[in-house]
């Protein structure tokens, strides 16, 4: 049978109430049989007569003005049925952010007078075959005037940097602020009181979701005039609502069918393929498929944002962290997608699972001429945790202190106020550390062993 991770009942025993029959048992996956027989139906396993194929002509420039787009070469390719430019898109804006209450719309479905990253879609070509669509896309000719590109988050924010966004700043504006702020206590006073200041700078580069199944959809015009969208979206209604807004049609004219996805990891939250496939289906009256090639998946689809995180800590010699200042830059790439949201999530996560009396966080969502980044597993947190936990190790080394005791000493517990001013509850950092120490035979003295997330010992 499957290897099951053991549950250690010794922890939180009193809280683990409940007598269950099905919950807590290793019920076999309902989809396993379909997976091992090849019968599970992914969107691309649909077979439709008369299907058309969509391929994209993309920007070859990091940042440029578009002077002219010549699609005549594409239309000469046998099998090419239509080309789609921004003029064919009823509402040429992605509105993923508007749907979660964040504005302004900043990303065109198809580029209009400028491109902000290499790989940005300019023209969609609809053809009888994939080969013809690909050939047609290759024959589109775009005349550009290059503009200065910004490829570094700190350079983007520096005085005199070329402004790449029409909104007027190279960063997202949070209610009048340059960044998402968290202010708790008085970080400067904390630094002044600290025995020492320990600083660190951490960074990452963009990461691809790399699902084995590429992002894509098949759109099928229905007899009643509606469109049925077979997609591997991670969010059926998100896709439905965004697509309806872009197409300028009532949401009732669309139907999204999905739910079986060959890996998502956040990449299939973007609503990129469905609107263009719908337009292709509407213009031709035939089913249309738009699926990323692997190369597009790797280089054009959203990434996990690269981040740059600067940490300055005020630390006492006994290991207490009394102040933590964090400056965090998220490389959103050329467009917002979900990055302004993720940057707020990053700020909310700081200063990590520790109770620190003075915290100052500036989290910047920065635009550069790169492939837009967006949601990915651990959005806003993964890179932050790399920085925070590397920094904890740095502190432990500098103090000559056991890294687990350092963490236990600072661990947040029930009743503590977090930097975003919410009272912590249901915490368990202390216990996972104690348990992991046991797994590797790492000795903890009795006072650390006796710690509990649920209550703090007197004194």
């Amino acid at each position: 049978m499957a290897r099951l991770t053991p549950i250690d009942n010794a922890y939180f025993d009193g809280e683990r109430t409940g007598d269950f029959t099905v919950i807590g048992s290793a019920v076999q996956r309902s989809d396993a049989r379909g997976h091992v027989t090849g019968r599970t139906v992914f969107f691309e396993d649909m077979s439709l007569p008369d299907m058309t194929h969509v391929k994209i002509h993309r920007s070859t420039r990091h940042h440029a003005r578009i002077n002219r787009v010549d699609v005549s070469g594409a239309l000469e390719v046998p099998g090419v049925l239509r080309v789609i430019t921004h003029e064919d898109v009823p509402n040429n804006w992605y509105v993923v952010l508007r749907l979660i209450g964040v504005g302004p719309d900043d990303e065109p479905v198809l580029a209009e007078d400028r491109v902000l990253y290499r790989g940005e879609p300019i023209v969609a070509v609809v053809a009888e075959t994939e080969d013809a669509a690909r050939e047609g896309a290759a024959r589109v000719v775009v005349d550009y005037t290059d503009l200065p590109a910004v490829l570094d988050v700190e350079e983007a924010l520096a005085d005199g940097a070329p402004i790449i966004k029409q909104a007027g700043t190279n960063h997202f504006v949070y209610e009048g602020h340059h960044c998402r702020r968290v202010r708790f206590g008085d970080v400067e006073r904390g630094f002044a009181e600290a025995d020492r200041i320990i600083e660190g700078r951490y960074s990452s580069s963009p990461i691809e979701h790399a699902p084995t199944e590429p992002t894509g959809c098949i759109v099928v015009p229905q007899g009643d005039g509606r469109l049925r969208i077979h997609t591997n979206t991670q969010a059926a209604f998100f896709t439905l609502d965004n697509t309806a807004l872009i197409l300028g049609v009532p949401p009732t004219s669309l139907r999204v069918v999905g739910g079986t996805v060959g890996g998502g990891f956040g990449g299939k939250v973007d609503v990129i393929v469905e609107p263009l496939a719908c337009i292709a289906a509407m213009l031709t009256g035939r089913p249309a498929k738009y699926v990323y090639s692997r190369a597009e998946e790797m280089q054009v689809s959203s990434t996990r944002a690269a981040e740059r995180i600067v940490i300055k800590d005020g630390v006492m010699d006994d290991g207490r962290i009394v102040a933590r200042k964090i400056t965090l830059y998220v490389d959103a790439g050329a467009y917002s997608r979900h990055s302004p949201y993720g940057t707020t999530k990053a700020a909310a996560h700081m200063p990590g699972p520790y109770t620190i009396p003075n915290v100052h966080v500036d989290a910047y969502c920065v635009y550069t001429n790169r492939t837009p980044s967006s949601a990915m597993r651990g959005f806003g947190v993964t890179i932050g945790d790399f920085a925070l936990e590397s920094h904890m190790d740095r502190i432990a080394r500098e103090l000559g202190m056991d890294p687990l005791r350092l963490r236990l000493k600072n661990a947040y517990r029930d009743g503590d106020m977090k930097a975003h001013r919410k009272i912590a509850s249901g915490t368990a950092l202390v216990e996972v550390i104690q348990s992991a120490a046991d797994l590797v035979g790492h000795d903890l003295p009795p006072e650390y062993r006796a710690m509990s997330s649920a209550e703090r010992a007197e004194g």
Binding site: V27, E208, T382, G426
Partner: protein, 338 residues
């Protein structure tokens, strides 16, 4: 040449649900003629096992065998709204919505059964095998298929229920960042053991030890899949992954295929030893917290810290390529020489 070993630690927490809330999911449950129960959703299974776990939540709440449950999902014509599968929200949000819907359906089911048995619904219980029986009696009972038939054809009632879960949206205070971002937090601590080749900078992760606090393991086999696969992704991020290997200096040499885009293969994986702790979340379905994302996070700094322990190089930039380790080693050696 030397292979030098080291151990590193990291401890993390992870929020369940979309940041700031405001991300609802809904569920509908109804009985078919012979006592099957259809859970209708628009939620998406990415492979994390949502369909199975949701069926467990419904079966547990209804008090029926899991074989009675059908999960019908991700058709916007039939399924009610779900925000989507992301932000470690699926099990938590959808689970709660399904429990709510199943409770409502259960109440009707018991009422129908009570009318058939001519007893009070409050005196009935489910036994998990398909029977609804009078508490304390082994004689007075009725099978769910008879209850469903009675509801349809004799009593004229729909055995059904509606459920929604919404964490009220929070708006951050711009000046201070005061906000209510999460529903609950899951926790993890990773200990990584590595071996570093001090001539080439190549890191091998030998072993990962993990304790995860996950609220409640609704299905320990599927939870095991999540944590093991997640830790693998963390390892992969730590050592390999980048769409721009020369970021931020150059946009060139971006991988375009699975050959160039490196991830650990089956021969590159460490031994994993994992343990679960359960501190049920007050607002979680049967106490469960969202764990899908957290599991990739702790291995990354744990590996970085283990490399420091092994060779004294502080890795501050992901991924931890052999080049970064070797440059660090060269600097250390130059420092020592100077």
């Amino acid at each position: 040449m030397a292979l030098r070993q080291g151990r590193g630690y990291a401890a993390v927490n992870y929020p369940t649900g979309m940041n700031l809330g405001g991300d609802p999911s809904q569920a509908l449950v109804h009985a078919t003629t012979m006592g099957g129960f259809v859970v209708t959703l628009s939620s998406v299974d990415l492979g994390q096992g949502l369909r199975t776990v949701i069926a467990q939540c419904a079966a547990e709440t209804l008090g029926l065998p899991i074989e009675n449950i059908i999960v019908d999902t991700a058709d916007t014509d039939t399924g009610p709204h779900c925000m989507g599968t992301f932000a470690s929200r699926g099990t938590h949000r959808v689970g709660n919505a399904v429990i709510m819907a199943a409770r409502e359906a259960r109440d009707v089911m018991l009422q129908v059964a009570a009318d058939e048995l001519e007893v009070d619904a409050e005196d009935l219980e489910t036994d998990g095998t398909g029977f609804i029986r009078l508490k304390g009696s082994s004689e007075k009972k009725i099978h769910v298929s008879d209850v469903a038939l009675a509801a349809h054809f004799r009593q004229g009632r729909t055995i059904s229920g509606r459920g929604i879960f919404l964490k009220e949206p929070s708006t951050p205070v711009p000046e201070t960042g005061e906000m209510d971002p999460d529903s609950c937090q899951a926790h993890a601590c990773t200990v990584a053991e590595v071996e570093v080749d001090d001539e080439t900078g190549v890191i091998e992760v030998l072993r990962l030890y993990n304790t995860y606090e996950i609220g409640r393991a609704l299905n320990p086999a599927i939870a095991t899949q999540q944590v093991e696969g997640g830790a693998w992704m963390g390892l992969s991020h730590a050592l390999f992954e980048s769409t721009e290997p020369y970021y931020p200096h150059s946009r060139e040499h971006g991988p375009v295929d699975f050959t160039e885009y490196l991830m650990p293969g089956p021969a590159d994986i460490p031994a994993q030893t994992s343990l679960f702790l359960e501190r049920p979340a007050a607002d979680g379905p049967f106490g469960a917290k969202g764990i899908g994302e957290m599991t990739a996070n702790a291995p990354i700094p744990a590996i970085a810290n283990a490399v420091y322990d092994a060779v004294g190089v502080r890795l501050t930039s992901m991924p931890f390529t052999p080049e970064k380790v070797l440059r660090g080693l060269d600097e250390l050696r130059a420092g020592r020489a100077g």
